[in-house]
């Protein structure tokens, strides 16, 4: 889990263990400034440089052309035109991630609630079952999904018995299904963490007092798992937005999502500055989303801590 939301109402009983000097943190900070900060800076710098005529790398000449090229295309007939291709790529990444987030959320709430209401022993096992995929390589999980949904896979074979043709591999639904599959545990676990803390007698009491079932869900259960939902949304949407493997392996190697276009520009297409400009745009969009999530959480009185 990467983001943790905790209600601020929780009493602050933080002790200060150890009298360690803040100097201890200097080395990790210097290391991260080198290994994380500089690469990010390099991407920003690259995005303002020219592409060398031979491709690959950068030519140290300042330009804003790469950002212009995101929206405006110099056509081969000499005209310039508004270019929707990269807006479409960003939009595709956005709505794939949105669908993934919504679908995983819809499935995760019942699952998290269900697990939270099992008895302790069974609960441990169920949590382990949801956690296990988190420890398994995303590559292998995506590959497994590809085998299942392939035309000649089990679904295809089964439907073949009824003469129904099945062919979704290498299409947008396949990519989205792959994203849902891979990120589902990232949604279930934080919601479960919230649900586990919930006192279920509260809901039963409300019901005894005359609340309708949906009222109980809306007024009591949902608010209490809200911090988990907010974490889950962040944990699914953010990595889905920058995902590479699912689109590559299930979408037919096309550059449908922004990460695939970035990767292609640093590979075969050999246009590093343009790939960097896209990367900067992706960073901005991601940060924007983080701010929105934090805003929502704060308004709701939850404190969202990333990390």
């Amino acid at each position: 889990m990467t983001a943790v939301t905790t209600p601020t109402k929780k009493p602050v009983t933080r002790a200060r263990p150890g009298q360690s000097s803040p100097k201890l943190a200097y080395l990790p900070i210097i290391f991260l400034a080198f290994a994380i900060g500089i690469p990010l800076l390099i991407i920003v710098v690259y995005s303002f440089l020219e592409k060398p005529s031979q491709g690959t790398g950068v030519k140290w000449v300042f330009t804003t052309e790469n950002y212009r090229a995101l929206f405006i295309q110099e056509k081969l007939d000499g005209t310039t035109a508004f270019d929707t291709r990269y807006i479409k790529v960003l939009w595709t990444s956005f709505y794939y991630s949105l669908i993934t987030t919504v679908v995983t959320l819809v499935f995760s709430v019942p699952v998290a609630m269900w697990i939270a209401t099992r008895e302790a022993r069974k609960r441990t096992l169920l949590v382990a079952l949801v956690t296990l995929p988190f420890w398994i390589s995303i590559l292998i999980r995506t590959y497994g999904m590809r085998q299942i949904i392939a035309d000649e896979g089990p679904i295809g074979k089964f439907l073949g018995l009824f003469d129904i043709s099945w062919s979704i591999l290498y299409s947008p639904p396949a990519t989205i299904l792959g994203l849902i599959y891979v990120f589902l545990p990232f949604m279930i676990l934080p919601i479960y963490a919230s649900a586990e803390r919930f006192d279920f007698r509260l809901a039963e009491a409300a019901y005894d007092l005359g609340a309708k079932r949906m009222t109980v869900v809306r007024r009591i259960i949902l608010p209490s798992i809200r911090p988990g939902v907010i974490s889950g949304v962040a944990l699914v949407f953010i990595p889905a937005l920058g995902s590479f493997l699912q689109s590559d392996m299930l979408g037919g190697g096309k550059t449908n999502m922004v990460a695939n276009v970035i990767a292609n520009n640093f590979g075969q297409a050999r246009n590093w500055p343009f790939g960097s400009a896209l990367a900067v745009l992706l960073i901005i969009l991601t940060l924007l989303f983080v701010l929105i999530i934090q805003g929502i959480a704060q308004r709701r009185g939850d404190k969202v801590e990333l990390v």
Binding site: R85, Y86, G252, Q268, R270
Partner: protein, 374 residues
Amino acid sequence: MASNKRRRASYVAALAAAGALLLSACGGESTAGGGAGEETAAAGAFPTSGSGEVHVYNWTDYIDTDELKRFTEETGIEVILDTYDSNETLLAKLQAGATGYDVIVPSDYMVAQMIELGLLQDIGVSTFPNGANIKDNLMDAYWDPGRNYSAPWMYGSTGIACNATAEPGCANITSWKEYFTAGLPKMDSLKDQVEVVSAALRATGVAADDLCTTDKAKYLAAQELLNGFKPAVIESDGGIERVVAGTSNVRHAWNGSTHRMKVEVPGVEYIYPSEGLNLWADNLAVPVGAPNLDNAKIFINWMMDPKAAGKQSNFSGYDNGIKGSDEFMDEALKTDPAVVVPADKVALLSSTPNCSEDARALYTEVFTSWQDSQ
């Protein structure tokens, strides 16, 4: 055990040296290389066994790994293999500073481009003991006249593979134009800017000798044709697997990979498009900065042996540039019209275009524009 291996290795070395002497004695014309490599040409000077490793960077699914084991047994050199999916990816990786590969496998035009960029080493291939095995027509290749930088590997053509049993709609395709406008389900494209764009140029009426044009109007026409072409898959790797599994039925494909599809799925046909198709020749070469230069030379020389070349052909499905390798090639390969070009199709073949920087930029432009608008 170890000493046994060493003994066998030196025995093989002696045999190879003898073979090299024999060959150079037979083929008097192979000394055309000139005086520069004279001292290494002496068979005794060329090492045939070594130690350590050789890092080979090759196309995906393009080398028989059983043969690599035989190479290791005979020479004592371990092969470490990495793979790529296109000439451009290879170039990108080398330009990004991947020093450490000893042997790479660029195609014709890419050899020319890499020599121009100073990325390849002059290793005097023609003076290697097995240098005389190079087929005459590949000896004076335009990308490396006299064969100093590169040794021939496989060669073949790029056309269309059609599984007519699964997709009868592709059986009537006779041209690139029909292929790009077929609009069939389960179409599968190479992810290769030179192949895709040159095919689209041919489809829009550009002649074979004009494929490196810098006339933007011609690229615009190709781009417009490509606008309507939306294959399910754009991926050079794994094409054989997809066609065999039935995930793809029509593919822009190399002839050797089509041969391998045919072996598994008899309904597959190789189509020679009527506008003509690219004839390419891949090569073994050594990048500048290769850490194991001697091992790279041993590897390349070993692969120029007729038996080794024949075995590689049997694996990959392509003909190769080594004299006498036919003897070791499977009958199925020698009788496949995808591999052995039928007489009436020979005229359709022309070399993969080796374009100027300006034309290359236009190829990249058309290709990425198509790729990113899928």
